[in-house]
Symmetry: C2
Subunit: 114 residues, 2 copies
DNA sequence: TCATTATATAAGACACGCGTTATATACGGC
DNA sequence: GCCGTATATAACGCGTGTCTTATATAATGA
């Protein structure tokens, strides 16, 4: 299974989204998806692990899962070929790049929430 | 089937890659994939059509397929959450944005090929 | 109208991904 | 060593996606 197939599943995308906010033990992810059983989550975690999208770190009986998004750049690279086609309103991206180039102003005016 | 599932198939990604170079009649795509039969290609085209990634235009008996990549921006939007994680070497992207902002210099020094 | 070209659809086989329940493994505390 | 917690694996059913071959539809040209 490759990265594209791994993220084709909405549950796995949701799991990555959660892990993007910070690492979590597997049990937390099980609780986050009450519609699925523990082995179900465990299998999804295995897929993400095998495809290299997450890292695992044992801590007592727990397994702490962390996002390892390097391979998502493959997806990004593939998209590059198509970016020329929606040449406007990639504001989010541009804002991100601006933030990169001037880390002094931490997202001016933006995101007063949280 | 959504966009994520649609691009999970490598054949469909290859078809999109071909269409990114310009529209093509279905028959051309059939020829481009000798390892697959004509109905196989036709089914993949149907998926891409239904998910809104391509447009079809009849021309005599032919069906001209064209890339319609707007929905790929969904993928791009999803990736935004993760872009913070590989914060360097998105040179290609930055170059693209630079090109957008100053269309005067058409990719300086770059791509002398073709 | 009939034959040819171009593409789509039908029907079926097969594999495989996803979910389940049941069970195994591993660690910590007593 | 034994028990409870945390997670992984096994075994299996089921749906569905992806091929195939055979056939239908549509347009062109004689």
């Amino acid at each position: 299974m490759d990265v594209f197939e791994a993220i084709a599943d909405p549950t796995r995308r949701a799991m990555l989204d959660l892990l993007a906010d910070g690492e979590r033990p597997a049990g937390d992810l099980v609780l986050a998806f009450p519609s699925m059983t523990q082995p179900g989550i465990s299998r999804h975690l295995r897929v993400l692990r095998e495809v290299g999208l997450v890292d695992v770190r044992p801590q007592a009986q727990q397994r702490i899962y962390a996002l390892k998004p390097e391979r998502l750049s493959e997806l990004d690279a593939w998209l590059n070929k198509y970016r020329a086609f929606w040449p406007a309103q990639l504001d989010a991206l541009e804002r991100h790049l601006d933030r990169l180039h001037s880390p002094s102003k931490p997202t001016p005016k933006r995101s007063p929430r949280r």
